[in-house]
C-alpha cells in the first residue's frame, strides 16, 4: 500500500547483524550462583536492513523477536555476534559511547501502559531526549515537542497532561513521538499495535507508514501477527526458537513460504470466510 518498496534497494545496508546470540543463564545455588543451564533466546541470527525499507520480524510468542531487538539496540548485552550500524560496530560499546548513537536508533514499545512513566508529564516524556542529548531546552524544546505531538495526531495542549489521562492508542502516539523526537534513522517497533484495539491498530500502522515516507525512516517491525507485518513490510524474516528460519520479500514469503513453520504461521491467520480458511489449512498441511 505504500511506495517504500522502491527505495529498498537504493541505499546500502543501514544495519547489519551477524550471528547475534543472546543467552540468559539460569542460575542456581545456595551461596554461590552457578550457571546450570541457559535460555537460548536468540541463537545466532543474521539479517540486514537497508535504508528506507521496512523489515518485518515475525514469530510466535517466545521466539526471541523482542530479545533480538533489545540485543541489537544494546539494551541487553549480546552474548556474542556483531551489530554494525552504518558500518560501525556497536556491540560491546559502553553506555557513554552509545549515547550519540541513540539519536539514530530508537524503539517503540509494545505496552503503551508500561512504557510511559506515570509520574512524568507528556511534554517531559517526549522532550527528555532533547535534554539528554543537549539538543534543545526551554522554549525551543517546548515548541519542538508541541510540533511532534501534532505530527503524531495529538494536540499541543496535551503537553502538560499525564499518561493516565490518555487512551491506549493515544499513549502509543506519545510513545511514537518520543521515539521520533530526534529524527532517528532506524526505528525498532516492538509489537507496537498488539496491545491495541483492532480499530486503533490500523490508525497506528498507517501513522507509522506516513511518518516513514515523511521522515525517511527505516523500520524493523516486530509482530506475531503476520497479517499486520505483511501489510507494512518490504521484507519479512520469520523467527522460531531464536533462529531466523526464512527471509524474503514480503509477498514472496506470504504467498510461497518455503519453511514449514512459516506455512503454519500463515495458516493461523484468521480468514473471514470459513470455506477458504479450511482450504488454506489443507494446503498448508496442518489440521485442526
Amino acid at each position: 500500500m505504500s511506495d517504500v518498496g522502491s527505495t529498498s534497494t537504493a541505499g546500502g545496508p543501514l544495519l547489519e547483524v551477524t550471528d547475534l546470540v543472546k543467552h540468559f543463564p539460569i542460575k542456581s545455588g545456595l551461596l554461590i550462583d552457578r550457571e546450570v543451564d541457559q535460555v537460548r533466546a536468540v541463537d545466532g541470527i543474521s539479517f540486514s536492513v537497508n535504508k528506507g525499507e521496512t523489515l518485518g520480524l515475525v514469530g510466535e510468542s517466545g521466539s526471541g523477536k523482542s530479545t533480538a531487538c533489545r540485543a541489537v539496540l544494546q539494551l541487553l548485552k549480546p552474548t556474542s555476534g556483531s551489530v554494525k550500524f552504518e558500518g560501525q560496530e556497536i556491540a560491546g560499546l559502553s553506555r557513554r559511547e552509545l549515547r550519540p548513537l541513540r539519536r539514530e536508533m530508537q524503539m517503540i514499545f509494545q505496552d503503551p501502559y508500561a512504557s510511559l512513566n506515570p509520574r512524568k508529564r507528556v511534554g517531559q516524556i517526549v522532550g527528555d531526549q532533547l535534554k539528554i542529548q543537549k539538543v534543545a531546552s526551554g522554549k525551543a524544546l517546548r515548541t519542538r515537542v508541541e510540533e511532534l505531538l501534532e505530527r503524531v495526531g495529538l494536540s499541543p495542549e496535551h503537553y502538560n497532561r499525564f499518561p493516565h489521562e490518555f487512551s491506549g492508542g493515544q499513549r502509543q502516539r506519545i510513545g511514537i513521538a518520543r521515539a521520533l523526537a530526534l529524527g532517528p534513522k532506524l526505528v525498532f517497533c516492538d509489537e507496537p499495535v498488539s496491545a491495541l484495539d483492532v480499530s486503533i491498530q490500523a490508525q497506528i500502522v498507517n501513522l507509522l507508514d506516513d511518518l516513514q515516507d515523511e521522515m525517511g525512516l527505516t523500520y524493523v517491525f516486530v509482530a506475531h501477527d503476520i497479517g499486520v507485518v505483511r501489510h507494512i513490510s518490504d521484507r519479512i524474516a520469520v523467527m522460531n526458537h531464536g533462529k531466523i528460519v526464512e527471509t524474503g520479500e514480503a509477498d514472496q514469503v506470504c504467498e510461497h513460504p518455503r519453511d514449514a513453520y512459516t506455512k503454519k504461521l500463515l495458516a493461523a491467520v484468521p480468514i473471514p470466510d470459513p470455506r477458504e480458511s479450511r482450504a488454506r489449512r489443507e494446503r498448508a498441511g496442518t489440521t485442526g
Binding site: L98, S115, P118, G153, H164, S167, G169, Q203
Partner: protein
C-alpha cells in the same frame, strides 16, 4: 481493514480545532477518546499529586488527626512561653521546699511524706497546672511540654535520617543489583536480625556512657542526637527493604528501558524516572515512621537507654512517674496519654495518606516493636 479510511485517519490530525473534525472515520474513534478524556476532567484531570490531594481532602478523619498532631506540635513549640510567662519556672528547676499560696491557703509543693502536689489547674495562676513530679517538685506541665519537644524532635529527625539512609541504600541496591545489592542487603540483614528494642538498648547504653566521637563530630553522652541517631539507624532496614523491592519491580518496566534507549545516565534514571514513582511510598513510610520512632524513644527512655536525665522526654517521665504509680498514677497517665494521642494521630493520618496516595498499594510499616506498643498506654 479498508485501506482508504485508514489512510485518511492518520493524515487528518495535523490541523487543530475544526479541521480535525472533518477527518475520516478512522480518526473519529480516537478523537472521541480525546473528548472523553476532557469531559472526565472533573475527576481525572491534574497530576497524580492533585488527585491524591482531592482524595485526602475527602478523608475527614485523617484531616482531624493531622489537626490534632499540629496542635500538639504547636503546644510543644510554645513550651518556653508557658514556662517563662505562666509557670515561671524551668523544666529542670526543683521546688522541693517551696510553698504555694492558693485562695488564701498555703499548700506545700512536696509534702514531708514525699507526696507531690496534684494538678492546680489555674488556681495558682498556671503554676503547677498538672501538679509536681514527685519528691523533686518540678512543674509537671512544663516538663510535659519540654519532654514533648524532645520526643517530637527525636521522632521527626530520626524519621528524616531513616528516610535519607533508606532511600539512598534502597536506590543503590535496587538499581545496581549484583554485588552492591548483596553487600547492602547483608548489612541490612544484620541490623534486621536484632530485635529493635534490644539493639536500641545496647547502642543506647554504650553511647550514653561515653558519648559518640565520629571524626570532627563529638556528641556528649547527654545529647539528644544520640537516641535520634540510634533510632534512625535501627529502623533503616524496615524502610530500605520495601523500597528496594519496589525499585526492583520498577526497574523492569519498559519506561526505564525507554530511558536507557534515549541514552539517559544512571543518575538521571534514578532521580528522574525512579524517585518520583517512589515518592508516595516514601511519604507514607516517613509519616508512619514518626509514630514508630516516638514509641521506640519512649521505650528506650523508659529503660534508661534513651533521653538521659535530667532532660525530660515522655518516655523518661513515664519512667520517673512509675516510682509513684500507686500514690500518684497521674504522673504516668499524663505522659502516657500524650504519647498515645500523638502516635494515634500520626498513624491515622499516615493511613489516610496511604489511601490517598496509592489506594492499590498494601505497603505497611510494620516494625517489630511489640514492647514499644505495650508501653504507649501504661494505664
Amino acid at each position: 481493514m479498508p485501506p482508504e479510511s485508514e489512510k485518511q485517519g492518520t493524515e487528518a490530525p495535523i490541523p487543530t480545532g475544526t479541521g480535525a473534525l472533518d477527518a475520516g472515520l478512522g480518526i473519529e474513534s480516537d478523537g472521541a477518546r480525546v473528548v472523553e478524556a476532557e469531559a472526565g476532567d472533573g475527576r481525572q484531570a491534574g497530576g497524580p499529586w492533585r488527585i491524591a490531594g482531592r482524595r485526602l481532602r475527602r478523608n475527614k478523619v485523617a484531616l482531624f488527626s493531622l489537626a490534632i498532631f499540629f496542635l500538639i506540635v504547636i503546644c510543644c513549640l510554645l513550651a518556653p512561653v508557658w514556662a517563662n510567662h505562666v509557670a515561671d519556672t524551668g523544666p529542670n528547676t526543683t521546688h522541693t521546699l517551696e510553698k504555694l499560696h492558693v485562695n488564701g491557703e498555703v499548700r506545700e509543693v512536696v509534702e514531708p511524706s514525699g507526696k507531690a502536689i496534684g494538678p492546680q489547674w489555674f488556681e495558682a495562676g498556671g503554676k503547677f497546672f498538672l501538679g509536681a513530679d514527685g519528691h523533686l517538685g518540678r512543674d509537671e506541665m512544663v516538663r510535659l511540654l519540654y519532654g514533648g519537644r524532645s520526643s517530637l524532635f527525636i521522632g521527626i529527625v530520626a524519621a528524616l535520617i531513616t528516610t535519607l539512609l533508606a532511600v539512598t541504600l534502597g536506590l543503590l541496591s535496587g538499581y545496581y543489583g549484583g554485588l552492591t545489592d548483596t553487600f547492602i542487603s547483608r548489612i541490612m540483614d544484620v541490623i534486621w536480625s536484632f530485635p529493635v528494642v534490644l539493639l536500641g538498648i545496647a547502642l543506647g547504653i554504650a553511647l550514653a556512657v561515653g558519648g559518640l566521637k565520629l571524626g570532627p563530630i563529638h556528641l556528649k553522652s547527654s545529647s539528644l542526637w544520640i537516641p535520634t541517631l540510634i533510632i534512625g539507624v535501627v529502623y533503616t532496614p524496615y524502610m530500605a527493604r520495601p523500597l528496594r523491592g519496589e525499585i526492583l519491580a520498577l526497574r523492569e518496566k519498559e519506561f526505564i528501558e525507554a530511558a536507557v534507549a534515549q541514552g539517559a545516565s544512571d543518575r538521571r534514571i534514578m532521580f528522574i524516572e525512579l524517585l518520583p514513582n517512589l515518592l508516595s511510598t516514601i511519604i507514607v513510610f516517613f509519616t508512619l515512621n514518626i509514630a514508630n520512632n516516638m514509641l521506640l524513644e519512649a521505650t528506650l527512655s523508659y529503660l534508661g537507654a534513651g533521653v538521659q536525665p535530667p532532660s525530660s522526654s515522655w518516655g523518661t517521665m513515664i519512667s520517673e512517674g512509675f516510682d509513684a504509680l500507686y500514690s500518684q498514677p497521674i504522673l504516668t497517665i499524663i505522659p502516657g496519654t500524650a504519647i498515645l494521642l500523638t502516635v494515634l494521630s500520626v498513624n491515622v493520618f499516615g493511613d489516610g495518606l496511604r489511601d490517598a496516595l496509592d489506594p492499590k498499594s498494601k505497603v505497611r510499616f510494620e516494625a517489630r516493636a511489640g514492647t514499644a506498643a505495650e508501653m504507649d498506654n501504661p494505664v
